[in-house]
Amino acid sequence: MLSPFRRVVGIVGIAVVATLGITACSAGSSDSSASGGKSVVVDSSFDLKTADPNREYETTGSIVAKALYETLLTFKGDDVTKPVDGLASYEMNADNTVMTLTMADGHVFSDGTPVTVDDAVFSLQRVQGIKGNPSFLLEGITVAKTSDTTLTLTAATPNPALPYILPNPALSVVNKKVVESNGGTATDADGAEAYLNGASAGSGPYMLESFDVASQVVFTKNPKYTGDAPAYDRVVLRNVQGPTQKLNIQAGESQVALDLNPDQVAEVGSSDVTVLSSPSRYMIFLLLNQDPSVSAITSNPDFLKAVKAGIDYNKIVDLAGDGSVQPGGFIPSLFVGAIDASDGNQHDAAAAKAALASSGYKGEDVTLNFPNDITVQGLSLQSVAESVQAQLKEVGINIVLAPAPVATELDAYRNGKETVGLWYWGPDFPDPSNYLAFTPGELVGLRAGWAAGADQTVTDLATAAKAAVSTDERQSAYAALQKAQNASGPFVPLLQPAQNVVTSKSITAVSLNPVWTIDLAGIK
């Protein structure tokens, strides 16, 4: 327009370029890593709430607690069938009511003080006293110090699962003196959480360097740790969504990714990374409410049969990708009592249509509620819901999807108000007795409107399973229970998704476990 302005434009242009140049320059100088020693980056999708081991009961929380603390009993590697000694060794009396724990010598906290029986008693009582999410693990159990090296856990009713419960990282032993001096008590007045979110007070392989529930937790090696020293001096556990995890591990930004779904794993290609794929501990299931006041349709046994036969399980397993399986019953394949898919529900469109015809269903809309902001091992429940909807449509059942954020939906689910629900269950401890929740009148059973006494056959089988002692007995008792549930119960086990841990080639070993997902100290 005006010749003198021509130069100005040039100047502005240069200014823009120069600014970009400056950013580019400064970018070049960032590759120096700030810390000495070897460090490893683990990407995970957080559900973290706290670093207080006695309060945490989340997947990420367990990973954190496992790295910072030790438990009285533990599992070796991924073998959860046999509890082994941790900070203590144990003995169980004959009727499974009293467990005596003898503290092992030589364990010390990161501040150098020895781990004593007082610390152990305090920690377990603290779990009970603060009335938090993990408190139920020790419900009905009395913890008492019996000598300078022993304590007893006394249960009111026989509790054979107790040795399997104790390795849970929520039952970690904290340094009593440190915790108490920071407001800690074994009651609901406990105020040590804030302190434990900033520093660890444990005897585990790592110490807490920094903790941010939203973004990342950083661990540094505990020099006082008495076990095998971990291979990495520093671990960064970052909160990263599954898709981003995949890009990060491919680009070498992280060394371990925990939440890739099978599709993503398939895309990674095994040339740059190592993929460890195994069935996870989670079981995704459909529940059909048996309470006629909630739904006359879903409480109809024929309709229930139609749904069970109408779902194409293979298609869902296919959707979930390699490594995932159809659980035969509600107990995942990892545990005693699990049954094979061939013993579970089978897809049979003709049978479904026949059952539907005799149920009197007239094509009414049936609402399927599910949380849409949850992924299980990277698999979104929404995909499963959409798949189920399409399959049931083929046999003539009209499902309407009703997604909601999990927080909103939990209320309806836990109060047994959902007509059809799509949820998943992660075991509280690696023992089939945890799955008795899926029987009439129990925790999850009630959510499906399955009241106590609603199905005497199943209830009787549950009682029998509970009473079974030897592994063989338990196996067959739980198998029978699940088959009965499959026949008449409100739960339709759909899927046990694969757990895929992807590591870069520089990692030679990771230690996975169904209870605490991954032992950060086991990364080599």
């Binding site: 302005f5 100005v8 070049g28 139920f136 529930v213």
Partner: protein, 351 residues
Amino acid sequence: MKTEKRSAPAGIPPLARYLAIRLGVTALLMLGVTLVTFILTNLVPADPVQAALGEQAAANPEIVAQFRENAGLDKPLPVQYFTYLGHLFQGDLGTSTQTRTSVATELGKAFPATIELAVGAILISAIIGIGLGLWAALRQRTFVDQVIRVVSLIGLSVPAFWMALLVYFIFFFQLKLFPGSGRLDPAAIAPPHVTGLYTVDSVLAGQWATFGDAVYHLVLPASVLALYTIGLLTRFSRSAILEVLDADYVRGARAKGLTGRTVVFKYVLRGALVPIITVLGIAFGSLLSGTVLVEKVYSWHGLGEYAFSSATKLDLPAIMGVGLVVGIVYIGLNFIVDIAYGFIDPRVRAA
């Protein structure tokens, strides 16, 4: 549009009066913000207790009762609200029902992250947007002008969340030009906390490598976020500058024989600055709300993500805290913009 503020009644210093009114309005608005958020979040047909407690704990009436009592949820709603206000007046934003950490602490972490992102984006958009707007204005009705117009409209039309993905995929994953998620290299240690802005804190601590790292991580998300505001600022500064280019004082400046550079930077840009600053303020506000979509893709744990997770997890005190902070920022922004007018325009200063 309001010009009534130009004259203040005699007796009270106009600035004091202005500040008093401003503060009063702000306080009322904040009260409104808390009330609206409180009502909205209590409309949710779900129980925050369920959202906060685990499977087994939620089935235990004792634990549930304990939780309700601790969170004050056992009281009637009006009591809850007034209790909240009471704490608020003492500077206490309450405790998150999810993490049992003080909301102020959590906001203290999330807020600087978002501010850093938004400031980065506004800087990028100011430089590029005003530059392009100036270029287009000086080349009005030429091909360049048309191209810039289309480019800026594209900037206004790109869905940020989609662009965030695309850019991440291309520049981080394919070309490996920029780092991936997060605010710093995972191996890096965050600089000592002063402002919470990594760029500022690292400079304060003299950690230049960390500063570079922080800026490096900022480039992609800030650029994506800036696209919209670049479009906005380009369009707006173009028309503001065009208007000024026609002004007598620009012709006057040229008649004085001033060089093109002086005319543009001293006369034209200054003349267009008031409307441009206004848009910058509005743009910054829109950036703040836009961050949630970009934060999600870049694992940038800022206010947007905090707001989203609090909203979906029914973390009432956290949502209220976000509402308050954001409200204050918006109002503060307008305030800053008004003050900026004063610095730029002596006529406003006098009024």
